[in-house]
């Protein structure tokens, strides 16, 4: 598979993660009609993981295709750290969902969604921050 095809699938994988991530954050925020955090997690976490699986497979393929481009790239390392933080947050949310619509839950909702967006930005930055 060409790198272009892998990149296209990678972006579709991003869509499969950001859609569910937005819905989970909306319920945590307490948005109207978003449902409870528990219901939202039950509904959207499977799709989010499916998206992550696509991202891991296509991402790993792109690393193998050009290891020097990613490994050792500062943006890639930042991306992995942010990804780990997002996954830890998701797991913490699953274990102890906070009451939605509180000030704390709204801050967490905004922060966790911003984290996913930062991961996307860090991924795009790989093209610019590497040694080449």
């Amino acid at each position: 598979m060409t790198v272009e095809a892998l990149q296209t699938l990678h972006i579709l994988g991003i869509a499969a993660v950001l859609g569910p991530a937005l819905m989970i954050s909306r319920s945590l925020w307490g948005a109207r009609g978003a449902g409870t955090v528990q219901a939202s997690l039950r509904r959207y976490v499977p799709a989010l993981w499916a998206g992550l699986a696509v991202l891991a497979a296509t991402g790993a393929s792109m690393i193998v295709a050009d290891p020097a481009r990613e490994l050792g790239n500062p943006a890639f390392r930042v991306k992995l750290v942010l990804l780990a933080a997002a996954l830890v947050f998701l797991e913490a949310l699953r274990r102890a969902p906070p009451r939605s619509a509180s000030l704390k839950s709204r801050a967490l909702a905004a922060a966790s969604f911003a984290l996913w967006l930062a991961i996307v930005a860090a991924g795009r930055w790989i093209a610019y921050s590497g040694a080449g």
Binding site: A16, G19, G33, Y128
Partner: protein, 61 residues
């Protein structure tokens, strides 16, 4: 016309600023993913393939 466009101040900014292009790309990819992601959620419901316990009215509210 292409030549004119590439000499406008905004074009020069997009070409020369080291952050402008990567930032635009990042926002573009994130917005694209959010569009496709949320459309997919609604479309899967409309197709009757997912979230059948949830009314369309509520999902689209």
């Amino acid at each position: 016309m292409l030549l004119w466009l590439s000499t406008t101040p905004f074009s020069v900014f997009m070409q020369s600023d080291p952050w402008a292009f990567p930032v635009a790309e990042s926002v573009h990819v994130a917005a694209l993913a959010l569009t496709v992601g949320t459309v997919a959620i609604v479309d899967l419901r409309l197709l009757g393939w997912a979230a059948l316990d949830r009314p369309v009215d509520e999902l689209c509210a």
